[in-house]
């Protein structure tokens, strides 16, 4: 179940990238996240698992303040990235999101060409000084998204014409094109077939070299395959957080054990 080779060779740093303290999230009157405190390490894949509606996606969306776009959502507590409180009034959520990239459940390429999809972020943030530099950024992002070889001959074809797995890798390339420091993935493989899933998982493992990756997943096998740290959420609480190995082999909390053995979910 566990891919031991990767996790033990590459975890070299313990630097904490994201620190959350007593985070509460309310949707109107509904208390969706309760007292969540967690430290997420840099250059590590952290998996959030838990039954549907447990709050793992909601918590993920707090990390880049995507919840700000929902009117009725309120967030309390502190989330710090590199020691800086992202809910501070000085922080511009738009700038923050350039630093904290996000990949969504369903591949959502824009109705533009493959090139324009990837160039979207760099153009908005003015990352390229000229066309050649932009070409360079796009090529690097597509290579990092492990899709360059498949699309290099049709960069100006619409991104929506790709297959589902290719679209998702394009979205990952689009997210890394703005040079983020953290990559959030909300069930990135739930709309993909097993082959495309394997490709994306492989890619996630490579992305760990450069970013702190946080992935929400419903598949416990996937969490075990790609992550080094796992957090188990249940009914808005963070029940258990630790080394993926340990969570899956010797969970401390009985609820975690019930979930990974399939008794609750």
């Amino acid at each position: 179940m566990k891919d031991n080779v990767i996790s033990e060779t590459d975890v070299t740093t313990d630097k904490i990238k994201i620190a959350a303290r007593d985070v509460q999230v309310y949707y109107g009157d509904n208390h969706a996240i309760k007292d969540v405190s967690v430290d997420i390490q840099d250059k590590t894949v952290t998996a959030f698992i838990g039954p549907s509606g447990c709050g793992k996606s909601t918590f993920l969306r707090c990390i880049n303040r995507m919840n700000d776009t929902i009117d009725i959502c309120r967030v309390q507590g502190d989330i710090l990235i590199d020691g800086e409180d992202i809910y501070d009034s000085k922080v511009d959520p738009v700038q923050l999101r350039a630093k904290v990239g996000m990949v969504f459940q369903k591949p959502n390429p824009f109705p533009k060409s493959i090139y324009d999809n990837v160039a979207y972020g760099p153009r908005i943030h003015g990352l390229a000084r000229n066309k050649a530099e932009l070409d360079d950024i796009v090529e690097r992002a597509l290579k990092r998204g492990a899709i360059w070889n498949e699309v290099k001959d049709r960069l100006h074809a619409p991104g929506t014409g790709l297959s589902g797995g290719q679209q998702q890798r394009l979205c990952i390339a689009r997210a890394v094109a703005t040079e983020p420091e953290v990559l959030l993935m909300d069930e990135p493989c739930s709309a993909l077939d097993p082959i495309a899933t394997a490709q994306v998982e492989e890619l996630i493992d490579e992305l760990r070299q450069s970013y702190a990756v946080v992935i929400v997943t419903h598949s416990m096998q996937q969490a075990a395959r790609v992550s080094q740290k796992t957090a188990f959420f249940h009914l808005g609480h963070l029940v258990e957080y630790g080394e993926t190995d340990k969570i899956f082999t010797a969970p401390e909390d009985p609820r975690t054990e019930s979930y990974i053995t399939g008794r609750i979910g």
């Binding site: 776009t69 738009v94 923050l96 350039a98 990239g101 824009f110 109705p111 908005i124 929506t160 997210a175």
Partner: protein, 499 residues
């Protein structure tokens, strides 16, 4: 009143068939239940379906025959009666149709007289002009005739009445037979295994198909009627002048200049001004409502905008004539007394007046279509853009609008085709002078207003001055049809690419 007796038996017949239909429903239902031994589960379909099937078979053929009969009988009778009228009974300046309407009046008058008791049924059949003053008799019973009744007309009227009576009895017999036959067939078919449910399903399908084909056939009918009249027009007037000439000067003594170009110019000029008003305002309103407004504002603003769409266009026309026009004159006209101190505009009616008001009319049209289209852009697109650190307006400009563009272009073209076909605003706001001029402060006129003016008042449908209305209408139709087809094409082409 003339058809009173004609209607009464028909009404009774309809009621009879309906009663028979209800009876067939109840009987078939009961028969199905009996056949199943009282256990509905043994039937192929629910018992009600057997009832519906029987009701359908009773009513539909009977009503079908009834409608055909009511259409055909008067024609047959007329043809039979017309032969009785000698050629010389048709006086000068009159026609067979006028004589036939005399015959019908006399026939109906006789019927009224019989009903009133002034005449016995036998007498009505046998009287002749030589020994009775038919005109006086009928006048006593409230049927006024223009002249004395001549012998041929009276005989024809009597023949008309007798044929009508015979036809009526025959009709009742035939329809009763058809209805009973239908009921009988349905009841015989009502067995445990009969697939009544499928029959009813097929009936529903047929009904829907008839509705769809009626809509299409009507369109085809309209096009053909326009086409034939236009052909008549082009037989009387050279097409070169119509399409290529530069003067519109209808003259009812003949020898008119009937050229579409000045009208087309006015139409397009006003439409373009209207679109310049409606597209930005409508589109921005749609963007605000669908992207920025909260639920409370949207719940209030959307219905308010749609009220604009519910205002009759004649009211917009009044607004143009009484409010916008005079305001524009204050602004651009009156020389020293005006607001700008210039004298560019003399009358309230102008291209600008009509264009502005028509633009206001089109705002809700553009905004509500665009609003629907913008809302249809999946939220995941916006999330993707926000997730990359784009602001709200960047997201709208670079992701939402490009995704919605084909739909928005479609909406604009639909608005354009409405602008081109709009009538009342331009009748009141644009003026009546046909000319080709670039000055928007001058009065001009449009295709639709000229159709109205060519067809109102005393018209002679054999002169090119009247028939030109059909050629104008056909051109307008082709224009708007072309725009609609283009709109649909654009929407479809880009939808394939992006979904």
């Amino acid at each position: 009143m003339g058809n009173f007796l004609n209607v009464a038996p028909t009404t009774l017949l309809v009621i009879g068939v309906l009663m028979l239909t209800a009876l067939a429903y109840v009987t078939a239902r009961r028969r199905a239940m009996t056949a199943a031994g009282g256990d509905a589960r043994k039937l192929h379909s629910l018992p009600g379906y057997y009832g519906y099937n029987a009701a359908m078979l009773t009513a539909i053929p009977a009503f079908f025959v009834l409608v055909i009969w009511l259409l055909v009988q008067p024609m047959l009778i007329q043809n039979a009666v017309i032969e009785m009228i000698p050629q010389d009974a048709i006086s000068d300046g009159s026609s067979v149709n006028l004589v036939m309407s005399d015959v019908r009046r006399v026939a109906n008058g006789l019927t009224t007289a019989v009903d009133a008791g002034a005449l016995s049924a036998d007498a009505a059949r046998d009287i002749s002009v030589t020994d009775t003053d038919v005109r006086g008799l009928l006048a006593d019973n409230g049927v006024a005739l223009g002249s004395d009744v001549n012998a041929d007309v009276l005989a024809a009227a009597q023949r008309y009445r007798s044929m009508q009576t015979t036809g009526q009895w025959l009709m009742i017999a035939v329809i009763a037979a058809v209805a009973l036959g239908g009921a009988f067939v349905a009841l015989r078919a009502t067995t445990v295994d009969f697939r009544a449910r499928n029959m009813v399903e097929r009936f529903v399908l047929g009904l829907l198909m008839i509705a769809a084909s009626l809509a299409i056939l009507t369109t085809v009918g309209i096009v053909f009627s326009m086409l034939f009249e236009s052909i008549n027009f082009f037989k009387l007037h050279p097409w070169q002048d119509f399409f290529l000439g530069d003067t519109w000067a209808p003259n009812f003594r003949g020898d008119s200049d009937l050229s579409i170009l000045p009208l087309l110019w006015g139409t397009l000029y006003i439409s373009i001004i209207a679109l310049f008003v409606a597209v930005p305002i409508g589109l921005f309103a749609a963007i605000y409502l669908s992207e920025y407004a909260n639920n409370k504002v949207r719940a209030l603003a959307k219905p308010l905008l749609e009220i604009l769409a519910g205002i009759p266009t004649i009211v917009y026309g009044l607004f143009a004539l009484l409010t916008v026009g005079p305001f524009l004159v204050d602004l651009f006209g009156r020389g020293e007394d005006g607001i700008l101190g210039v004298d560019w505009m003399s009358g309230a009616t102008s291209v600008l007046t009509a264009g502005l008001v028509m633009g206001i009319m089109l705002i809700p049209f553009v905004s509500s279509l665009s609003d629907d289209i913008i809302n249809a852009v999946p939220q995941s697109m916006r999330d993707g853009s926000f997730g990359l650190g784009a602001t709200h307006s960047e997201t709208i400009r670079q992701v939402v609008l490009p995704a919605a563009l084909p739909g928005i272009v479609g909406a604009i073209l639909l608005a354009a085709s409405r602008a081109i076909g709009e009538t009342m605003i331009v009748v009141l706001g644009a003026g009546a002078i046909a000319r080709i001029s670039p000055n928007p402060l001058e009065a001009m006129t449009t295709i639709t207003t000229r159709i109205v003016s060519q067809l109102t008042g005393d018209t002679d449908f054999a002169s090119p001055e009247t028939l030109v209305a059909f050629a104008l209408g056909l051109t307008l139709f082709v224009l708007t049809l072309g725009l609609n087809v283009l709109a649909l094409y654009i929407v479809r082409k880009y939808r394939e690419q992006y979904e």
